[in-house]
Symmetry: C2
Subunit: 337 residues, 2 copies
Amino acid sequence: MASLDYIRLDHGSGGKLSYRLIKDLFLPHFANEPLKKLDDSAVLSLSHKKVAFTTDSYVVDPLFFPGGDIGKLAVCGTVNDIAMSGAVPVYISAGFIIEEGFPIYELERIIISMEKSAAEAVVDIVTGDTKVVPKGKADKLFINTAGIGIILDNVDISSANAQIGDTVILSGYIGDHGIAVMSKREGLSYKTEIVSDVAPLHAIIEGLMQSGIEIHSLRDPTRGGLASSLNEIAAKSNVGIMIEEEKIPVRKEVTSVCDLLGFDPLYVANEGKFIAVLPACHAPEALEIIKTHEYGKNAEIIGEVTEEHKKKVILNTEIGGKRIIDMLTGEQLPRIC
Amino acid sequence: MASLDYIRLDHGSGGKLSYRLIKDLFLPHFANEPLKKLDDSAVLSLSHKKVAFTTDSYVVDPLFFPGGDIGKLAVCGTVNDIAMSGAVPVYISAGFIIEEGFPIYELERIIISMEKSAAEAVVDIVTGDTKVVPKGKADKLFINTAGIGIILDNVDISSANAQIGDTVILSGYIGDHGIAVMSKREGLSYKTEIVSDVAPLHAIIEGLMQSGIEIHSLRDPTRGGLASSLNEIAAKSNVGIMIEEEKIPVRKEVTSVCDLLGFDPLYVANEGKFIAVLPACHAPEALEIIKTHEYGKNAEIIGEVTEEHKKKVILNTEIGGKRIIDMLTGEQLPRIC
């Protein structure tokens, strides 16, 4: 396929050009036996009958940003949602909605990025779909991924399982993704480039599971940021969560941009971070395991689950005050994923 | 939630308004235990370890058309793709990409339609996602569904499995869906309204499987129509397919519109039809079973699989000629699904 071509309506027709797009562009990069059959569904074998199933659509603008692109985001986002159920991600689907006139070389870059992320996350992209809409009816490209993961025996992880006395661990710096995407979109530049943290977290979670550490809740603080995810855990588990401001890792550059533009890093999206809630006695060992991984090396214990302040998140500020941290209201940074 | 409201960017923020949209609109209609937990993934139990997994995005314009809407289409389309692997559909995901300003009462109509279709198809919508893009960045609403079905033992159905001597059955009238959507979009009106055939086909397929009839290939001729689906089977199975024009059910009204506008019903999309390829000795019994179902009552044996004309589809015309029927080239009817 000539790389100077552009996507035409025919590419979504279900006819010859659709077939060529699949054969020439998708199949070489997403090579695996179930996909190659190009049947209406992929036929798959699972090693366990208990599975995690999730979906997300990606509408990020711009499509390419420091540290990643919509393809990497689409694979990692779904891999991470599966991992947050304590499951091992195995299969991914990919649905593309493409605006007529989109350059095929950009689509190929994105597909190659998905291929790489899938390889890193050890998942196969086994089924897919391509739709093309006329120029002006979508903004360049949207991707939906759904994913299946297998859940090992005796795993029961949920936002509703946090227990009073549990420790809250955060796997690293917050706010990098949201600020990286927003800065690229708005054409802002800083001395130090802020790079998205988008990354697959399955390996860290598998490491924790294999160690036998009991985990109650896992959550990746994407849209809505750390504050919204902690609020969900507090509300669903009917507990309070107390966190220490000084323990929350935020890069200096992210703090500066947030100060300048009036954002709060607690509400800015992350795409390669997670919160783990687990028994205090396991916390030191869990932290050690998380820190051995590249994507967890800046992890910190940031707080604890309390009986007081049920369904609320309380921040102990660096200057010694207390502040209730609510869920995000309004939308400060649209289209960051 | 007031039904006069409109979707705002905040509805996709991952914060408070997102949460309210899910609690007030999605949960009441898609009520099931895995979804209610609102975790990053739905945790599911499967009765078998061999599964079918599929995805499709829906960008149909207009969203509402005679016989259905984008919601019904999104559920039935994925249910049917699963059924075409000889699998029993069980779980569906739903990803919504909504344009800012979309009326919530229309979204609710669509959600209710999905609820009804899911009930008819006996599937649960267990996980989902909502993204909102600024006005002008998408055309009203796009929906992605992915689905999981369980595959019973000893089932091996694929477009690559057609055998020489097999019979080809078509489950009813072709072209209804494409012409219904196009007519609504273009504001055409006829004496008799043409209604989309969108419907779930799982029950007919389950009926065939339970009867013990051997089935080699199943395919639902959606985009690209009957001609493209038959070509895919011929190419992948390395066989010829010979069909009889006089046996192919086409409504008079659809033929008239196609004649008028220069379309060929063989290439027009269907959303409630399937092609079954199976041993000739089983064909009469299979046809009888299909005809007992509402969505299969107009089924016909339309042709056979031949050794000659490998990878080609040959039409024996009503006037006694032969014509090679190729895959769809170009795009005659965009955005019909």
